[in-house]
Symmetry: C2
Subunit: 230 residues, 2 copies
Amino acid sequence: MVALNLENLPNKRRQTPEQVSELTTNRLSVYLRCLNELDAAGVQTISSQALAEQFQLNAAQIRKDLAYFGEFGVRGVGYYVKDLRRHLRQILGLDRRLRVAIMGAGNLGLALADYPGFRQEGFEIAALFDTANEKIGHESRGGVPIHDINDLKRIARRERLDIAVIAVPAPHAQPVVDQVVAGGIKAILNFSPGALKVPPDVKLKSVDLTVSLESLSFYLAQGDASSGAA
Amino acid sequence: MVALNLENLPNKRRQTPEQVSELTTNRLSVYLRCLNELDAAGVQTISSQALAEQFQLNAAQIRKDLAYFGEFGVRGVGYYVKDLRRHLRQILGLDRRLRVAIMGAGNLGLALADYPGFRQEGFEIAALFDTANEKIGHESRGGVPIHDINDLKRIARRERLDIAVIAVPAPHAQPVVDQVVAGGIKAILNFSPGALKVPPDVKLKSVDLTVSLESLSFYLAQGDASSGAA
DNA sequence: TTTTGTGAACTAGTTCACAGCT
DNA sequence: AGCTGTGAACTAGTTCACAAAA
């Protein structure tokens, strides 16, 4: 039943490479988005060169990133768009619908729960969690139910939750993460500022809005300084 | 007016180093947060070693990052917390209040406008912009006024806006960015998926939620595969 | 011919280890 | 003694350039 893939497995073992850098996996996601666009535009095949030019990427890097997972291209032709798109979706685990929980039904949590970008690529926002009694039992405008955070363990199992998004105030972040981990969820996207501890088998990815803004502030401060000197 | 800083300028030119990596500036922001905590806890001085241990960082890297901007430490002692904190705030341009505009008064825009984390470190959310007539003239729950996006140029000048946050649906992102650039704003934090074009004197920083989630999905897909084999 | 897949060369970023200051 | 600041060594990531395949 794996016969069809065998020609893509040369001498080295493929499929789950020893260790792919996070930079690479992020780019895979970008490539997928490009292919979605190309597919929607009816493009049949594309070379790494053309892909790079159209989306401001590097051709060699595209080829190298893909090469970690197999030989998806055809020499002299390029990549079949639909084909590569399917492969990327499979590599990224998007061939099944992933179920997401949002921790914290405040402004940010509710906004993320109804964010259309998530649903688009196959993520299902299945539940919101909060501690405030007046919120529990209600749902977001988009219809995501708000549960008591203490029911997380039960609901995580029942709803088969795969990913948790942390959108609670900073002081609650670590205890909430601990509950998420105890609930058996293995992947966390964190929006709260500051470092969080998770066991080694849990993947934590943080988006730190303060760091992002302060990095922009740095740029402005440096830029102003040099224009002041000029 | 720079006299106070002169003892920190050895033989090499300092203050605006040729090119500091974004990784370094992001870490400066992290260090600042650590120092805020230490200061609040009443800690007077800290060595790079102790800082690294307490916050899971690397001591040599802390010293190197700081060394781009001056000699802030005291050999045999470490760094004076209040002192280094003040220096970092100055380096990051946080010694003046930066004024932020949020483009898009949808779920995400409104949530970001009232996000307390921003105000905390000295950012002032001064305005929201949208195209919907029923929103224009109103304000967010936290009291940020919603303007017509076509008034951006005028209001950007009047309100001295420094940074724009892009929280509009993906198809509108590039045109909105063009308006932001035309309004003279030089720093942009983008939440919409996909690449955006800005002129070289404008700093663009993107937070791509889809890429973040798909990267977690990849981890789950790979993890499941190996546990299935075991 | 065209374009992939990939070793080799290069560039960027991190960590080590120690001279030198306090 | 203790700790910074920094060259040197190392590691990771990117780009080049070309042999091999279609």
